[in-house]
């Protein structure tokens, strides 16, 4: 027994979810880019054949780029009072049409936002989010999911995984309670068939053996390779802000004499200011030290702490980088070295 949904019904699903008050997030056109957008109309949803990956991840829908974490005002005699924003009023949301690599970022982000102190802002949004991903029927030039431990049809993080099959249809695999509830609620759009039809899933040979990465990183903190690799890094945040698993943030107060907000804003370890002390001392004063931190964080520290690498192999960092700094290439180089 298998479940099928047609491409037309997938669009209809978006339509019905919008009507039911969901925020529907789907790959859509924005000028000459494909981005994850909260669509107003199912027509905006791009068919799967028109994109491999939107230019950024969908993390801003569970981890906004600028988020108020408390609202304060100055009351009697200037005494501050504050309240915490209530996310209970946020609508349920569904990401439709993301790739398995993007979906896999959620279990990875869960780790840091749930480490001892449970971040309500992330988890309340996460709980309201259903993920319907579409397996890749072709790989992009920069993709390396299979090197990172994933695959064009990984199930991690997805509530329903769709796989392209013949006749403009998708085989739908329901993977969670949330997925089950959705498939039931919008049951008329899915059909049951006898056998799982043949599906189109891309093959992608791994570019490197990821098991070789950490052993080298463990022993080569001071290796001259870092300067060689990172010499051209500009120290902007294009990689971090497009990356599905980058989660570092800044906290600032913004307001006026009447009051304001304490904000949680995306930040990037590539920035020269990231670790600069008030005294002026900076433990990572040079760009190759900052680039090293990025790689170590994703492929060593996160793995040691949480058992997962903070990278899904989507390749966006390289594609977006103004100087085309090639993470996949860096990892290939490292994997080829003696630990």
């Amino acid at each position: 027994m298998a479940t099928i949904i047609t491409a037309e019904n997938l669009k209809q699903l978006a339509r019905e979810m919008l009507k039911a008050g969901y925020r529907v997030i789907a790959p859509a056109k924005q000028a000459d880019l494909v981005v994850f957008k909260a669509i107003k109309d199912a027509q905006e949803m791009l068919p799967e054949s028109e994109y491999i990956l939107p230019q950024a991840s969908f993390k801003e829908f569970v981890f906004p780029r600028c988020e108020c974490i408390l609202r304060y005002r100055f009351g009697e005699g200037g005494k501050p009072v504050f309240e915490s924003p209530n996310l209970d009023g946020e609508p349920p949301q569904a990401v439709i049409g993301c790739r398995p690599c993007d979906a896999a970022s959620l279990p990875i982000l869960d780790k840091i936002f749930g480490w001892d102190y449970v971040d309500p802002f992330y988890f309340k949004r996460r709980e309201k989010t259903a993920v319907i991903s579409v397996a890749c029927s072709r790989a992009g030039e920069g993709c390396f999911c299979t090197s990172a431990g994933y695959a064009p049809d990984s199930t991690a993080g997805s509530d329903i995984l769709l796989k392209k099959c013949a006749g403009g249809k998708y085989a739908a695999e329901v993977l969670s309670d949330k997925g089950r509830q959705l498939a039931e609620k919008f049951g008329s759009l899915f059909e049951k068939v006898e056998a799982t039809p043949p599906v189109e899933v891309a093959g992608l040979n791994p570019a490197f053996d990821v098991e070789k990465i950490k052993p080298w990183l463990d022993k080569h903190f001071d290796d001259p390779l870092w300067l060689e690799i990172a010499a051209r890094c500009m120290g902007c945040g294009t990689c971090a802000y497009g990356c599905p698993t980058c989660h570092c943030f800044d906290m600032v107060d913004e307001g006026d004499l009447a009051g304001g907000c304490r904000l949680k804003n995306w930040d990037t370890c590539s920035s020269a200011l990231f670790t600069k002390h008030g005294s002026g001392h900076n433990p990572r004063s040079s760009q190759e030290q900052r680039y090293r931190q990025r790689v170590l964080h994703k492929f060593k520290y996160y793995l040691e702490k949480f058992g997962l690498r903070a990278c899904v192999g989507c390749g966006r960092c390289t594609a977006r980088c103004p100087v085309n700094l090639d993470l996949r290439g860096v990892l290939q180089t490292i994997a080829g070295k003696q630990a």
Binding site: W115, E127, T275, H277
Partner: protein, 284 residues
């Protein structure tokens, strides 16, 4: 019921009233803060070595250790130097004003677990005395549970010393070997303490490593030069404790900023042994 229904805002601070302002030295101030919430005032507890994030609404948050003793209830003290936006805003607050405090965060000096019942050597440098002072207070409040207590404190000059009242008390307290020093040239007329950099004075004072723990804090360069002296005196690296500071924002291991190698200073620190420090890359 949703699994997130009971989640609290982990970024929400306690509201504190500024009870007292003490100017310790030029540019260095201590604030004594009382919890505004009755229940919190009664129940709040922390361990010496832990830190918090202190905020002025509108200016932001800043990280300092909790400088008062863990045995003192209902209030906290923090000491800070004015270096930027938030510390300047903290200097503008007056007695009776409200500031925020989030904490206690981080690990602690293992007083109960390891240090009680043994000799303790406290070494502080400049404003680095603040976290050590938290341990000293806690220790002196339970004096009988420790054996010999040595306190060695140095600053660049006499006027830059912090907690001057307590230094005078400790000097007079029987059962405490107290040594104070200033850098060469920092001794005013009538100075009755040592003159020399702290590492030199530690070597001269030669505290015994026998059955002893060392707790030291100061600027990175001070720690860098004092550690070898302690090792030379025979203190094993597992019995030398220090506390690191690093740029922080969330203080709870999420914002990704404060790690030294694979250790988050806010979670696996700020207290580290010399043995643990040896394993860390020089990224602090």
């Amino acid at each position: 019921m949703s699994m997130t229904a009971t989640l609290t805002n982990i970024y929400a601070p306690y509201l504190m009233t500024v009870d007292e302002i003490i100017d310790e030295a030029p540019g260095i101030r201590t604030l004594k803060l009382a919890f505004q919430d009755e229940a919190v005032r009664k129940d709040f507890a922390f361990r010496a070595g832990q830190f918090g994030l202190y905020s002025v609404f509108g200016a932001g948050e800043c990280v300092f250790c909790i400088a008062s003793g863990a045995t003192r209830k209902g209030y906290l003290e923090c000491s800070f130097q004015k270096v930027g936006r938030v510390t300047n805003a903290l200097r503008d607050v007056e007695v009776g004003d409200t500031v925020g405090f989030r904490g206690p965060y981080g690990n602690h000096f293992p007083l109960d677990e390891k240090i009680k019942g043994h000799n303790v050597v406290f070494i502080g440098m400049g404003i680095g005395l603040a976290p050590v002072r938290s341990v000293i207070w806690t220790c002196l409040d339970e004096r009988k549970q420790y054996k010999d207590v040595t306190i060695i404190y140095g600053a660049r000059s006499a006027d830059l010393m912090v907690y001057k009242r307590e230094l005078a008390e400790w000097a007079k307290t029987p059962g405490i070997k107290f040594v104070k020093t200033v850098d060469p040239g920092g001794n005013p007329p009538g100075w009755d303490g040592e003159v020399g950099f702290v590492p030199t004075i530690v070597e001269r004072a030669a505290p015994s490593p026998e059955d002893a723990y060392a707790i030291l804090c100061g600027p990175p360069i001070g720690i860098k030069f004092t550690l070898p002296v302690l090792l030379k005196l025979g203190f094993p690296p597992e019995r030398i404790y220090t506390t690191l500071e690093n740029r922080m924002k969330c203080g709870i291991g999420k914002c990704g900023r404060c790690n030294v190698g694979g250790k988050y200073v806010c979670k696996e620190g700020p207290v580290f042994t010399a043995a643990e420090m040896k394993e860390l890359p020089a990224e602090y």
